[in-house]
């Protein structure tokens, strides 16, 4: 990969991560008031600050690298405006709104008075990344604690002002009131003329969901008006003075190496800067077209190597599993052999999973600027602090000399964990001595980003005559471990993940490998039920002990009207579901197969989703329905095609994504569990749709489709 010194690992759960976090409290305190004006700043440490971050991988990680305990801060200005800080990024999942609701709720201020500063490594607390549906479950409690601490501090300030004991005072409606005397002071008044910074312990408890007043409501997106007017600036929209446009020369195929190089003609072009640094070749110019022309004028010869195609990938994955990889995962309970021996029905299935692309509409982009040896990069990434650390390492500057800022993004879907565009823009900007923007083309995005890993999944199971699972053997080759464990009760099981070395870049995807594992498992479960002549819903419920999983299946079944009788030729009904990352999903689909053309149409979808207490019902609804629509692409037709190190369908014309005509009627039932802390919703709602569609196709046609995508060219029955 040109310009990228970081070897890419599969899946964030396996990321190497040993970066030093930011800890500049003293500097921060000064900068805080300089930046935000006088007022009251509160910094908190969560007692479980380590656990609040993503689980740290075991290798290369030392206790002294841990973030300092301070992990959340907010500021109350003299005008009563509240600014809260989070290292999370907004990618369309609505945290800018939902986290502000959380702060307003806990601080007892109107929603409109809270502003979120997100994903700026110079201003916000260290954060591992906006990955794994962690923003809601980790940031909600952290921000609640800092807001509760701030509220407490304000009460203390008022008590001092009035010279009364704090115990009787009450904080509500952005003011502290003394019920005994009836007097009150607005937060703005309490903050006036102060530069008070306090580092407080963040104590439980915070306001329970049942008592929320601002959180739990469908507040519209705070920046909606900027979106509909085109005023919101995504990374590629930034135009600092003197901006040059950068382009990077891509090899003709993966693993190609540069054999000869001549940039004389390109360098002679007016206003053009050409950089060659190892394998990295790029140009910057006053316009994108001039940069492109400069690249075109560079004479290169490449040595290419023959590589396998998408037609051979599955046999390759089976043959090349790394037997001794440390990433191999193996878990066993009871004896599968015994379980199978005592089974009344047994079934073996093999499932294949194609590489797919995230294809965010905003492709990778970065704007980089060097000033006095310090680097500032605006970029669309889900991991701003990791990108900062990579930039520091690549350019041999201290982390404190690098600032990464992430403008709210044209989404990511798990596809923007890397620093590619940031490194490229920064390298060109250093040579140019001016700010440089690098904005990947659609073809670059489809080719040089990374893919959801392809995989082969083999499942062997047995059930007793009462329909209870007795044995479960599960092997996943390469696609990953998320949701690899079955949520169904099976006494005898063996579950293994076999990583496979492969040269194409593969990595995280929305839901990670859960999209693959839930598809395979739920397809297999359906096939077992059908073979044993048990209703597929009844079969699942028989084998579920988790009441939350049961609840979503039952809720969706009721709205869908399961079991349904077929009323038309080509009609079919199917279901699928599961649990991952604290969320529970069950999805039912009705499909119609046109016998003549083989076209599969999804007619109606009912899904039930539960992720604890709901912070913003309308935002959640938008996410859940969106996940189903996006999931339909991977279910039915998305697949990356490749041959000899080239992606052969790197365009929206040849890589089909869901469009308006594909979208069925979708009903989403949101189960609000006010007794449970909120979990994330970005990923898990996507998991049920692929198996639901596949199982419905079987119901309609008797054809069992075990691979994703199910029907890229329709069914030829």
């Amino acid at each position: 990969m040109s310009g990228s010194p970081v070897k890419f690992a599969v899946e964030p759960e396996r990321y190497e991560f040993s970066a030093g976090p930011m800890h500049h409290f003293e500097m921060l305190r000064r900068d805080f008031f300089k930046l935000l004006g006088a007022g009251i700043a509160v910094f908190t440490m969560a007692k479980d600050s380590r656990a609040m971050q993503e689980t740290a991988p075991p290798r290369g990680f030392h206790a002294e690298d841990l973030p300092k305990e301070i992990n959340a801060w907010l500021h109350i200005g003299e005008d009563g405006g509240v600014t809260a800080f989070t290292g999370k990024v907004e990618i369309g999942q609505n945290i800018r709104t939902s986290l502000a609701q959380t702060v307003a709720d806990e601080l007892r201020v109107p929603f409109e008075s809270v502003r979120m500063v997100t994903a700026d490594t110079a201003l916000t607390p260290f954060d591992f990344g906006t990955v794994g549906s962690r923003s809601t479950p980790t940031m909600t409690p952290q921000l609640r604690r800092v807001a509760a601490a701030a509220r407490d501090l304000l009460v203390g300030v008022a008590a001092k002002e009035w010279n009364v004991p704090r115990e009787g005072l009450k904080a509500a409606d952005a003011k502290v009131t003394d019920p005994a005397s009836g007097r009150s002071l607005r937060y703005a008044e309490l903050a006036r003329g102060k530069t008070l910074a306090q580092n407080l312990p963040a104590e439980d408890p915070v306001t329970p969901p049942a008592e929320w007043t601002v959180a739990g409501k469908s507040i519209p997106k705070v920046d909606g008006r900027a979106f509909v007017t085109g005023r919101h600036q995504y990374t590629p929209d930034l135009r600092p003075p003197g901006l040059l446009y950068g382009k990077v020369l891509r090899p003709p195929s993966f693993d190609a190496t540069l054999r000869s190089y001549d940039d004389t003609a390109a360098k002679a072009m007016p206003g053009v800067i050409v950089v060659r640094d190892g394998d990295f070749v790029g140009a910057a110019a006053p316009s994108e077209r001039e940069a492109q022309k400069a690249l075109g004028a560079i004479q290169t010869k490449w040595k290419e190597t023959p590589q396998i195609s998408n037609r051979e990938i599955f046999s390759y994955l089976k043959k090349n599993a790394a037997a001794n990889s440390e990433d191999r995962y193996r878990k066993q309970n009871g004896s599968v052999e015994e379980g199978l021996a005592h089974a009344a029905h047994r079934l073996d299935t093999t499932h294949t999973i194609a590489f797919i692309a995230h294809a965010p509409l905003e492709s990778r982009a970065a704007v980089a600027e060097w000033t006095d040896g310090k680097l500032t990069v605006w970029t669309g990434t889900q991991r701003p602090f990791a990108v900062r650390d990579e930039l520091a390492s690549v350019f041999h500057v201290p982390e404190s000399s690098v600032r990464v800022i992430v403008p709210d993004m044209g989404s990511a879907y798990g596809g923007k964990h890397t620093s590619d565009a940031a490194l490229e823009a920064a390298r060109l900007a250093r040579a140019a001595g001016r700010p440089v923007r690098v904005f990947w083309t659609r073809e670059e995005e489809f080719t040089w980003a990374y893919f959801r890993p392809a995989g082969v999944i083999e499942i062997k199971s047995g059930i007793a005559s009462d329909g209870k699972l007795t044995a479960w053997e599960y092997h996943n080759y390469n696609s990953g471990m998320s949701a690899i464990e079955t949520p169904y009760v099976v006494p005898n099981r063996r579950i293994e993940f076999h990583p496979v070395p492969f040269n194409m870049r593969q990595g995280s995807y929305r839901g990670l490998a859960a999209t693959a594992n839930v598809f395979a498992r739920e397809t297999h479960m359906d096939a077992v039920a059908r073979a044993a002549q048990i209703d597929p819903l009844e079969f699942r419920l028989k084998n579920i002990s988790d009441p939350r999983l049961r609840a979503v299946f039952e809720a969706a079944a009721k709205s869908f009207g399961w079991p349904r009788k077929k009323t038309q030729e080509g009609q079919g009904f199917g279901l699928g579901g599961g649990t991952e990352k604290g969320g529970y999903v069950a999805t039912f689909a009705e499909i119609a197969v046109d016998r003549a053309s083989g076209a599969v149409r999804v007619v109606r979808v009912v899904t039930a989703y539960e992720c604890g207490a709901i912070v913003n019902p309308d935002g959640l609804l938008n996410q859940v329905i969106g996940a189903i629509v996006q999931g339909m692409g991977g279910a039915l037709f998305e697949a990356i095609e490749f041959e000899n190190g080239r992606i052969t369908n790197p365009h929206f014309a040849s890589y089909r994504v869901p469009r308006f005509r594909d979208v069925p009627e979708i009903e989403a039932i949101l189960l609000d569990r006010k007794d449970l802390p909120p979990a994330g919703a970005g990923e898990t709602p996507m998991l049920g749709i692929a198996p639901a569609i596949g199982n419905a196709i079987f119901d309609a046609t008797g054809v069992r489709l075990n691979g994703l995508p199910l029907a890229p060219n329709g069914l030829k029955t």
Binding site: P236, R239, R659, V663
Partner: protein, 157 residues
């Protein structure tokens, strides 16, 4: 004599090559970055603008070919601080997630409603088939267009 474009009622001289796609001139030369690059291939609709009253992919038309008629971009819809009914309807329906496709969706929808004041859902779907939304907010977009059509008829726009 450089080419001049009329964009949102204002005249701009163009210094880029006349064969440059309109999109790059709007964004990089004029700073009208509300119009988005999504694919550069006319396959996603993110760069849609109105040329005259017709929605067109600005990545697929050269600046010289676009110069004949007035151009409207997303920045030109709001009048005196009042949103266009289609913008208002998108806002009211919460018809976006990351919103990167939104300007293109809105411009296409404005174009649709100029030719068909009261489109059916099927007509909307047909018209927007070339606009990609990766976040999956299609159903809300269709709802927003119905709302906008209603509002425009009521207010005689």
């Amino acid at each position: 004599m450089p080419i001049e474009l009329e964009v949102n009622g204002k005249r701009y001289p163009v210094h880029y090559d006349p064969d440059t796609p309109l999109l790059y001139v709007l964004r990089d030369e004029f700073g009208l970055t509300g119009t988005k690059y999504g694919c550069g291939e006319g396959q996603c609709g993110a760069c849609t603008v109105l040329i005259g009253s017709a929605p067109r992919r600005s990545c697929q038309i050269s600046v010289s070919a676009a110069a004949a008629k007035p151009i409207t971009t997303i920045e030109g819809l709001e009048k005196d601080g009042r949103l266009h009914p289609v913008q208002q309807a998108f806002l009211d329906a919460g018809a976006f997630q990351c919103a990167y496709c939104t300007p293109g969706m809105i411009m296409s929808s404005v174009g649709l409603l100029q030719g068909n004041a009261n489109p059916s859902s099927a007509e909307i779907v047909q018209f927007l088939q070339g606009n990609v939304c990766r976040c999956g907010t299609h159903a809300r977009i269709v709802d927003a267009i119905h709302q906008a059509a209603k509002a425009m008829q009521e207010h005689g726009r």
